[in-house]
C-alpha cells in the first residue's frame, strides 16, 4: 500500500475542486484510503491520517471513525503523535461519547510525564473537554500540579482547575490550600490564571468570597505595581503594562468589594488612580477604564468616585470610536436605575446617538432613552423618539412603538397630548404596532371621556387617508362604532369640527369590509362598528341590509356575527339598544395586564326590562357573551380582581394554580355547563336584571362571622342579601390588624367552587393600620344559583415589618342564611 498522501497535499488537492460534488468525491476517496490504513494498524502514518481527517472534519464531513485512532495516538510515546492525538480528541470527542473515558488513563499518565509539554497537552485537553467523571478522577493530579514551582505547568493547572470546578462544583474545596500563595508569583501567566481561579471560586461560594476578602490589599498592590512600573517589553500593549491582568484584577476586586464597606474602601484609591491615569488614546486603555467604571458602580464606592465613573461614560459617549460609544450606552443602561440623575445629565448626548448610523448603537440608545423618560422631559423626549420612529429601520419599529405607548401612559402631561401621540404612532408605524396594543389603546380612549369627539374625528380623518395599517384601522373602526354619533353631530371642542354625514361614515366602514387590505380581524371590527351605529344613527335600514349581506359571508367569523346581529334586529330588537349601549369606563389594574370590565359606581347601567318572553336566562347571555367578546376586544374578563396592588388581573389564573381544586369562576376555567358561559354572566345578569350595583343594604338579618384570625390579622365577613335577586349574596370583608406594625401591600383574594360565581370589588385601601386603628373593607358578590353550601378559599398577602407574608385559608363556617 503506497504511503498515504501528506496533509498539505490533500489540502491543496481539495482546494482545486471546482464544485461541491467534486470536493465530496475527493473526500470520500481519501476517507476510504484512510480507513484501510487505520485497519492496517500502521503506527507510522496514523498521525498523518488523523490530521487529514481533522481537516475534512473542519470542512463539515463526518469523521467519527477516527475517534479511536486519536486515542491510540495519545497513547503513543512520541510527542508528535500526542500533539495531533490530543487535538483530535478535543475536536472529535466530547463528554457525550463513552469513548472519551478511555482517555482518562492516558491523561493521568501524561500528567505525570517527564516532559512538561506533554503534561501541558494533557492539562489542556482535560481543561477543554474533560467530563465530570474524568474531572473527578483526575482532580487530585491537577491539584498537585497547581502547587508545582514550574510556572508553565502552574498556569495551565490553574485554568484546568477552573474547568474542574465548573464541571464538579463540589471539588472546589480541594483546591483551596493550593491557592494560598498563588498571588505571590512573579510570573504574569500564573498571576492571571490565579486571579481567574480565585474569581471562579468567589463567584460560586459566598464562603470562599468571605475567605478571599483578605486578599484585597495584595491585589491592590499588584495592580499598583502594574500601573506604576516602567515599560516592560514582554507585557506591553500600546504603552500599558499587561492590560489583561489589570482588567482581571479589577473584576476580582469588583466581586470582593460588592456589598462590603471595608473592602470597597481599601480599593477607592487605586480605582481613582486607574480612572484618572489611564491613557485613553487607544482601545486598550479604554478597555481598562470600562472595567474600572463597572467596578466602581458595583462596589460601595464613595459618591465622588461614582460621579467620576459616570463622567467617564459620558466622555465615552462622545468618543469617535463606535465600539466605545456602544459600550458606554450598554453600561449606562445598567446604571440608569441606580444613578438615574447622573445619567440624566447625559441625556442629550444619548438622544443624539439615536441618529447614529450604526444599528447596534441605535438600539442601545433607544433602550436607554426610554429608561430616561420622566415627567419632566416627556414632551422633549417624545418628540425625539417619534422622529426616531419615523425614520428607523423596521426591526426597531415594534419595540419603539411599544415603548412610546408605555412612556406616554406613565407620563402624559395631558389627555389630548396622549391621544395625539397615539395617533402619531398609529399613523407612522401603524403596521408595526403590537397586537396587544389595540385593546390597550381602546381602553385608554374609552376612559378619556372628554376627548371622545376629538379622538373619533382624528381617527376618522386618518382612515380617509389610509386604510392599510391594521391596528390603526381596528382602533378607528371601534371608535367610530362607539362614538359615531359625536362624529356626525359635529361637536368637537379641541379642533375644527368636520362635517360628516351618516352615509359617509357607513361608506368608510363598508369600504373596510370589502377592501383587500383588511384582515379578517379588521373586518370583524368593522362589522361590529356598523352594528353599533344602528343605535346611534338613524339610517337603520342601510345597516340592516349590510348585516344581512354578510350573513352569507364565506368567512365563518363574519358570518356568525352577521347572523347574530340579524337575530338581534329580528327577534330581540328590544334588547338592541341596551346591548349596544356605550361601553362603560374600564378599569385598568396594571399597565400591561389584560383589561377588564368592571361596573363602576354611578355608571348608568341600562335599565333593561327583564326578558318578557321566556327564553332561558342563558340565551341572551350567550349573545351578550359574544358581544362582549367582540366589543371588548380580546381579553376575557377574569372576575377576580386585584385593584390597588399592581398585580395583573389574570390573578384568576394564578389562583387556579395556587388554590387547588376549588376552581374559580374566572375566565380561565371551562364553563361548567355548556350553555352558561364563563365569567360574563355575572356582569350581565346583573345588568339584565336591572340591579344597581350597590344595593341598599337591607340586612336580611344574617349574622356576621369571623373568617380568619391569625398572626394579628382578623378578617370578618358581614352579609347583605342583594334584593331582589336572592341568588346573590353580598359579603363585605373587614380586615383589622392588632399588631404594632402596619400591614402594607395587603391583598385579599378569594376562590369559590365551580357552581358559584364570584366578583371582587375594589378594596378601600391596601394598608391595614396597626393596633386596630382602622379596617380595610372590600365587597364580594357571590352568585349561588344552585343554592349550594357556600365554601371559600382565601389567600392573603401583605408586608409586615419588612417581610412578605402569605397565607391560605379555607372558610367553611358560613351561616346557612347566607346561602340558602
Amino acid at each position: 500500500m503506497p504511503a498515504p498522501i501528506r496533509l498539505r497535499e490533500l489540502i491543496r488537492t481539495i482546494r482545486t475542486a471546482r464544485t461541491q460534488a467534486e470536493e465530496r468525491e475527493m473526500i470520500q476517496k481519501e476517507c476510504a484510503a484512510i480507513r484501510s490504513s487505520f485497519r492496517e494498524e500502521d503506527n507510522t502514518y496514523r498521525c498523518r491520517n488523523v490530521a487529514k481527517l481533522l481537516y475534512m472534519h473542519m470542512l463539515g464531513y463526518p469523521a467519527h471513525f477516527g475517534q479511536l485512532e486519536c486515542l491510540k495516538l495519545i497513547a503513543s510515546q512520541k510527542f508528535t503523535d500526542k500533539r495531533i492525538g490530543y487535538l483530535g480528541a478535543m475536536l472529535l470527542l466530547d463528554e457525550r461519547q463513552d469513548v472519551h473515558l478511555l482517555m482518562t488513563n492516558c491523561i493521568k499518565n501524561d500528567l505525570n510525564h517527564s516532559t512538561q509539554y506533554v503534561q501541558g497537552l494533557a492539562l489542556c485537553t482535560l481543561g477543554c473537554m474533560g467530563s465530570s467523571e474524568m474531572c473527578r478522577d483526575l482532580a487530585g493530579e491537577v491539584e498537585k500540579l497547581l502547587k508545582t514551582s514550574n510556572s508553565y505547568l502552574r498556569k495551565k493547572a490553574a485554568l484546568c482547575a477552573v474547568h474542574v470546578i465548573r464541571k464538579v462544583p463540589e471539588l472546589m474545596e480541594m483546591f483551596l490550600p493550593a491557592t494560598k500563595n498563588l498571588l505571590s508569583e512573579k510570573n504574569h501567566g500564573v498571576l492571571h490564571t490565579s486571579v481567574v481561579l480565585l474569581t471562579e471560586m468567589c463567584e460560586r461560594s459566598p464562603d470562599m468570597l468571605a475567605h478571599f476578602r483578605k486578599l484585597v490589599p495584595q491585589l491592590v498592590r499588584i495592580l499598583k505595581n502594574l500601573i506604576m512600573s516602567g515599560y516592560s517589553p514582554e507585557h506591553d500593549v500600546s504603552g500599558i503594562s499587561d492590560p489583561f491582568l489589570q482588567v482581571r484584577i479589577l473584576r476580582l476586586l469588583r466581586i470582593l468589594g460588592k456589598g462590603d464597606d471595608d473592602s470597597s474602601e481599601a480599593m477607592n484609591d487605586i480605582l481613582a488612580q486607574v480612572a484618572t491615569n489611564t491613557e485613553t488614546s487607544k482601545n486598550v486603555g479604554n478597555a481598562i477604564l470600562y472595567e474600572t467604571v463597572l467596578t466602581i458602580m458595583d462596589i460601595k464606592s464613595e459618591s465622588g468616585l461614582r460621579v467620576l465613573a459616570i463622567n467617564i461614560l459620558g466622555r465615552f459617549l462622545l468618543n469617535n470610536d463606535k465600539n466605545i460609544r456602544y459600550v458606554a450606552l450598554t453600561s449606562l443602561l445598567k446604571t440608569v436605575q441606580t444613578d438615574h440623575n447622573a445619567v440624566q445629565r447625559h441625556r442629550s448626548t444619548i438622544v443624539d446617538c439615536l441618529k447614529d448610523l450604526d444599528v447596534s448603537i441605535k438600539r442601545r440608545a433607544m433602550e436607554l432613552s426610554f429608561a430616561l423618560v420622566n415627567g419632566n422631559n416627556i414632551r422633549g423626549m417624545m418628540k425625539e423618539l417619534l422622529y426616531f420612529l419615523d425614520s428607523c429601520d423596521p426591526e426597531f419599529k415594534a419595540d419603539c412603538a411599544s415603548g412610546v405607548f408605555l412612556a406616554a401612559e406613565k407620563y402624559a402631561p395631558s389627555k389630548r397630548w396622549h391621544i395625539d401621540t397615539i395617533m402619531r404612532v398609529l399613523t407612522t408605524a401603524g403596521s408595526y404596532v403590537r397586537d396587544d396594543s389595540v385593546p390597550n389603546l381602546i381602553q385608554l380612549i374609552t376612559n378619556s371621556v372628554e376627548m371622545h369627539a376629538y379622538t373619533v374625528q382624528r381617527l376618522y380623518k386618518a382612515l380617509l387617508d389610509d386604510i392599510s395599517q391594521q391596528p390603526l384601522v381596528q382602533v378607528a373602526s371601534w371608535c367610530i362604532g362607539e362614538y359615531g354619533d359625536l362624529l356626525v353631530s359635529g361637536q368637537c371642542e379641541e379642533e375644527e369640527p368636520i362635517q360628516v354625514t351618516e352615509d359617509e361614515v357607513l361608506d368608510v366602514l363598508e369600504g373596510l369590509l370589502v377592501s383587500n387590505l383588511s384582515t379578517p380581524v379588521t373586518r370583524g371590527y368593522a362589522l361590529t362598528a356598523i352594528m353599533k351605529l344602528s343605535t346611534r344613527f338613524t339610517s337603520v335600514n342601510r345597516i340592516k341590509k349590510v348585516v344581512s349581506i354578510y350573513g352569507s359571508s364565506i368567512d365563518v367569523e363574519l358570518q356568525q356575527r352577521a347572523v347574530e346581529y340579524n337575530a338581534l334586529f329580528k327577534k330581540y330588537d328590544h334588547m338592541r339598544p341596551a346591548l349596544l349601549e356605550r361601553m362603560p369606563i374600564m378599569e385598568k389594574t396594571a399597565s400591561n395586564g389584560p383589561t377588564e370590565i368592571v361596573q363602576t359606581n354611578g355608571e348608568t347601567e341600562p335599565s333593561v326590562v327583564e326578558a318578557k318572553h321566556p327564553p332561558p336566562v342563558t340565551q341572551p347571555t350567550n349573545q351578550a357573551n359574544d358581544l362582549l367578546d367582540l366589543l371588548g376586544g380580546n381579553d376575557v374578563v377574569p372576575v377576580i380582581q386585584n385593584t390597588v396592588s399592581t398585580k395583573p388581573a389574570s390573578a384568576g389564573g394564578e389562583l387556579l394554580d395556587l388554590l387547588g381544586d376549588l376552581s374559580l369562576s374566572g375566565g380561565t376555567s371551562p364553563a361548567p355547563a355548556p350553555s352558561v358561559p364563563t365569567s360574563q354572566p355575572s356582569f350581565f345578569l346583573d345588568g339584565l336584571t336591572s340591579q344597581p350595583l350597590f344595593n341598599d343594604i337591607a340586612a336580611a338579618g344574617i349574622p356576621p362571622m369571623t373568617a380568619y384570625n391569625k398572626n394579628g390579622l382578623k378578617i370578618d365577613f358581614t352579609f347583605e342579601r342583594a334584593n331582589p335577586n336572592p341568588n346573590i349574596a353580598v359579603i363585605t370583608i373587614h380586615a383589622s390588624n392588632s399588631t404594632e406594625a402596619d400591614m402594607t401591600d395587603f391583598v385579599f383574594q378569594a376562590a369559590v367552587p365551580k357552581t358559584f360565581q364570584l366578583q371582587l370589588l375594589s378594596p378601600s385601601s391596601n394598608v391595614v393600620p396597626a393596633l386596630n386603628q382602622g379596617t380595610v373593607t372590600q365587597v364580594i358578590r357571590v352568585l349561588n344559583p344552585q343554592k349550594q353550601q357556600l365554601r371559600m378559599r382565601i389567600k392573603l398577602t401583605y408586608t409586615h415589618k419588612g417581610s412578605a407574608v402569605q397565607d391560605l385559608a379555607e372558610v367553611n363556617n358560613f351561616p346557612p342564611q347566607s346561602w340558602q
Partner: protein
C-alpha cells in the same frame, strides 16, 4: 468566552474552538448564525452585536478572514478585541507575515498556538514572548523525534 471562530468572507470555516460542550447540531447552528450575522454587517459598523444572550465580538483581518468570539455577559468586550488582536499577533510572529493561506495549510499549528494562549475561554499567558518560547520548544521536540527516526520530514510530521 464561549467560542472562537475563524471564517472567510466566502463562509468557509478555518478554525473553531468551543469552550462549552455543545452538540454537533448546536455547533453547526452557531456557526451558521455567526456567519450570517457577521458577514451581513456593513463596513465601519461597531464590532459588537447581541445574539441570544451572548455578546458577539468580531473583527476582520487580512482582507477576508473574520475572527468572531462569543462572550458572556460579564466579559469585557473592549478587552475581547484586544484578545483577538493578540492572537493575530501570535499567528503573525509564528508564521512571519501571516495570511489566510498559512492558516488553511497549517490549521493544526493555529490550534497549537491558540491552546498556548487561551484555555477554558480565559487567557493562559499574557506575555507574547512566553507563548512564542513554548511553541518553539514544542516544535523542537517534534523535530527532534523526526530526526531520530531519520525521516526527512518537516517540522510537521504530517
Amino acid at each position: 468566552m464561549r467560542f472562537l471562530l475563524l471564517f472567510s468572507r466566502q463562509g468557509k470555516l478555518r478554525l473553531q474552538k468551543w469552550f462549552t460542550p455543545l452538540t454537533d447540531r448546536e455547533k453547526k447552528k452557531v456557526i451558521r448564525d455567526m456567519m450570517m450575522l457577521v458577514l451581513a454587517r456593513p463596513a465601519r459598523s461597531c464590532n459588537f452585536l447581541q445574539w441570544r444572550d451572548l455578546k458577539i465580538v468580531y473583527k476582520r483581518w487580512y482582507a477576508s478572514l473574520y475572527f468572531c468570539a462569543g462572550l458572556e455577559d460579564h466579559d469585557n468586550e473592549l478587552l475581547a478585541l484586544e484578545v483577538l488582536h493578540r492572537y493575530v499577533e501570535l499567528l503573525d510572529k509564528y508564521f512571519g507575515n501571516v495570511c489566510e493561506l498559512d492558516i488553511i495549510f497549517n490549521f493544526e499549528k493555529a490550534y497549537f498556538i491558540l491552546d498556548e494562549f487561551l484555555m477554558e475561554g480565559e487567557i493562559l499567558e499574557t506575555s507574547k514572548v512566553a507563548v512564542g518560547v513554548s511553541l518553539e520548544e514544542a516544535d523542537t521536540l517534534q523535530e527532534g523525534e523526526a530526526k531520530e527516526a531519520w525521516r526527512p520530514l518537516s517540522a510537521g510530521a504530517c
